[in-house]
Amino acid sequence: MHLLVCGGTGCRASASDSIAEKLKAELAANNLQDEAQVIQTGCFGFCEKGPIVKVLPDNTFYTQVKPEDAPEIVKEHIIKGRKVERLLYVDPAKKQKVEDSKHMGFYRKQMRIALRNCGFINPENIDEYIARDGYQALGKVLTELDPQQTIDIIKKSGLRGRGGGGFPTGIKWEIASKNKADQKYVVCNADEGDPGAFMDRSILEGDPHSVIEAMAICGYCIGASKGLVYIRAEYPLAIQRLRIAINQAREYGLLGNDIMGTGFNFDINLRYGAGAFVCGEETALIHSMEGLRGEPTNKPPFPAERGYMGKPTNVNNVETFANVPPIILKGADWYSSIGTEKSKGTKVFALAGKINNVGLIEVPMGITLREVIFEIGGGIKNGKKFKAVQTGGPSGGCLTEKHLDIPIDFDNLIAAGSMMGSGGMIVMDEDDCMVSVAKFYLDFTVEESCGKCSPCRIGNKRLYELLDRITKGEGTLEDLDRLRNLSHVIKDTALCGLGQTSPNPVLSTLDNFYDEYVAHVVDKKCPAGQCKSLLRYVIDPEACVGCTACARNCPVNAISGERKKPHEINPDICIKCGACYEKCKFDAIRII
């Protein structure tokens, strides 16, 4: 038997270490150390109910275990084979105790469709993909379905674009299929530029064939024989694996002419991005593929009408494509049974920031942020307090405590002032200053703005300047009004998606953390203690013993005082380097 003790950060904080010790001691005391072993594991992702102990092989799942429960677990469960009822997990919905953790709802939180093969197959071996039903979907559409029937399946499945906008994929394909032209193109947008999002990279690195197969299916539907993958040059491994995959597919005759003897021709080439976030926008992406500056153009005309080289072009992102083959094989009804009314299927998120289980997760639409952050993500690092989660990258917004129980889907996130974006989720804790976070994103947008339209080129710069002033304590209440007006005008007038969404981090922090802004401009204080200009180092005369360590280490001689008497910091000289704070052994330096 094995006793698995969760060694995740959350459980450790709640004494899982000593539980393990106790269990080991108890087993030894009963001379059972050969019968059962205690193993510390990684996070179970269920920190809310931690510490967790799981008993194998019977999959018993004990929650909120305390060190003093160890004797009972050993005596009852290990020796007598009776489960400790009071520690069993209770299903909140059914109000029933769960004996076998395989039946726990928790384990259904994640569901892998787009990531179905990631971590399972060798991405550099097409045989492993084929063994897992690879290219069956392509074969099915080519031999059993006509393009419109295939489009109907995608439409019926409710699949929406995973790149940010959430446009229904089937409708997009249908439009492109109806535009007549001698040549059309299928483009895969793999220019994943949101900082903190890496799901497309993971799919291309872990399961490149799924994208190739889906592009071919799309080509068949819209009547295109050429596919292009626009991929970030910053992803060398993904490029390499995709190249290998394309070559293997060509060798097998799954790309090229007369695929599977059906007369359908399709081949794929790669185009590299070169470090421009705006190229995630489809018109900019197309210009970039044409060898031009990646500047967006006004839509309409949409790429489905006039895209790459002026021809009808269908652009989808990596994750969208990765969903296509399972939909074809398992049917539209299967797919649409997952998710919420208007957002079907699953979504891959990249969990990052101040969260324990940084990682890539795939969850059904409709899951709440709370489940994602506290259950799958294992809660906040170092036991800090959750403050906000940023979704949608630089185009998204910061969601707070009050949004934790909203079911995540395209429309709910927009209603909450953020957006799905490509699926980055950056978790922030109480130490993060929301004005600084907004400034961070604006810094990004200013750098990544293409410069074509004035609201984005100049407006975002001005937003950044305003935020910078606020973090330096130079802002005024009027500045907050200006921030808001400017943000609304930029959203209203900017040319492309980048500009139209760039003020979202400002607006959402203004909405959700207005007090924090006010603290910066009125009280000239940064509640999170992040804004250097607003910090003040002082010495607590009660705690100071006059050891002079601070004065000796101050690089600008801002500290004075007699030996063995309380010292003082001259705020006019202090450069807030924090050297005194680190040197003081008596915790006498305060940051206010």
């Binding site: 990684g42 990631c118 971590g119 991405p123 063994a131 890496f198 993971s202 799954l254 795939e362």
Partner: protein, 132 residues
């Protein structure tokens, strides 16, 4: 060169490939064939997955263990990279996190040789597409 000339071709191919995998899993050498997958996406490689993979290949051979080591994509546990999945015959696959050479050695010696679990297991917490 193999060419897939029709859907029937492809289906046949899938079956034989699956059979091959089955053979690998349940065939003659089933009692002692160990399957190991190393997550080799960017994060994994950056945290040393390649070193671990090389080590495993070398050591398993040296220690006379009949094993197949393959690379695979991201398993999603970025916080615990490098991660590897070990599947012993007649057992569920288990994912280990934070694997370095030392850990790999421990996994070989304790888990692979004796079926003893070791610290650092990552509980798999998702449903695969095949479950539904």
């Amino acid at each position: 060169m193999i060419k897939v000339k029709s859907l029937a071709d492809l289906k046949k191919m899938r079956e034989s490939l699956q059979a091959k995998v089955d053979l690998r899993e349940k065939g003659e050498a089933a009692e002692n064939l160990v399957q190991i997958k190393v997550a080799m996406a960017t994060c994994g490689i950056a945290s040393g997955a390649k070193v671990v993979m090389d080590y495993l290949l070398e050591e398993l051979e040296k220690r006379g263990i009949n094993a197949v080591v393959t690379q695979t994509g991201c398993m999603g546990y970025c916080y615990a990279e490098p991660t590897i999945e070990v599947k012993l015959p007649d057992a569920d696959a288990i994912v280990f996190g934070y694997v370095d050479k030392k850990k790999a050695d421990e996994i070989i010696e304790k888990y692979i040789k004796n079926g003893e679990l070791v610290d650092g297991i990552i509980p798999v917490n998702y449903e695969s597409i095949d479950d539904k």
